[in-house]
Symmetry: C2
Amino acid sequence: MMTVYGMKVSGNCYKLQLLLARLQRRYRWVEVDSARGETRSAEFLARNPNGKVPVLELEDGRVLTESNAILCFLAEGSTLMPEDRWQRALVLQWLFFEQYSHEPYIAVARFIRLFLPADHPRRGELPRLLERGHQALAVMEQHLAESRTFFVGDSPTIADIALFAYTHCAAEGGFDLSGYPAILTWLASVRAQPDFIAMASA
Amino acid sequence: MMTVYGMKVSGNCYKLQLLLARLQRRYRWVEVDSARGETRSAEFLARNPNGKVPVLELEDGRVLTESNAILCFLAEGSTLMPEDRWQRALVLQWLFFEQYSHEPYIAVARFIRLFLPADHPRRGELPRLLERGHQALAVMEQHLAESRTFFVGDSPTIADIALFAYTHCAAEGGFDLSGYPAILTWLASVRAQPDFIAMASA
């Protein structure tokens, strides 16, 4: 059986939980608490020298890192990763958008507000994170407002799973989603999918 | 013929030049100068609402953004994107590593040092960018030092192209690569590939 090393309150790890539930795949979960330095232990760094969760370990010991690369690997052959070459390209486009233009702002703002002390100096980063995060949300809103139910094609893909992970809890980072009606409708569509599971509360 | 909207001194755009040269594909290049605000024009934002280069436009008008998604799309069917499912997963792993753990530090340090005035307040970001950039270089060095010529498998893939783009000019960001012998050997291996082209000087 495969193993996921992850932290349940991390959106990047929640992506894998969502996908694996949807695919009805069995797996072993090993909780790794980065706040307690567990991603910097020698044992963990032997699996991922980059010191980040999630990590997927196959039964034969092969290891894959980077949440969105793991989504692509696991979703291959399912409807969540389209076969059509252009649609696949668009799924990858949104996965890279998520990691470059969305997660570094929306997830990091949430991390600072939820997990760091109220007087931590990183609070000073919040205005810029909010500004950039809202830019990402505006790009998503514009795309979804063009009569789209999901990000690519007519049915859910891993692009929706990846973007759902930190968008649905953006309020914890200080983002008010009420100005993004198309995003709110899309979040409800993702929640209505079969085998949907909620993220662990932080 | 397809069109690439890009900026020649941008490593993210250089990735596409490298790949297209290697594939011997013909294309039209439209230079877009983000320093002069050309990625924020209404015309450009209609192509990419996220306001970033590069953008690939197919002859029929379809548009794809995100440099690494474009690499995947264009390389499909060539040896630069392996057919094997596990090897593909590893290529994607390194592409996501590049955009999340490498480019935001190594490319941004280069941008600040090359393109912003010497008294610009963003210079204050450089110590943190250098620290994080060196972490990424250390991960690459460790991987390559395990007797590897290229990042995935025995021949070059788009993972090498993506990582080459900003690693080869890391010195412009203030990174001394002399402590990374495996990276230096790998850079030479990429430069020795057929149809290699140098990046435009900044």
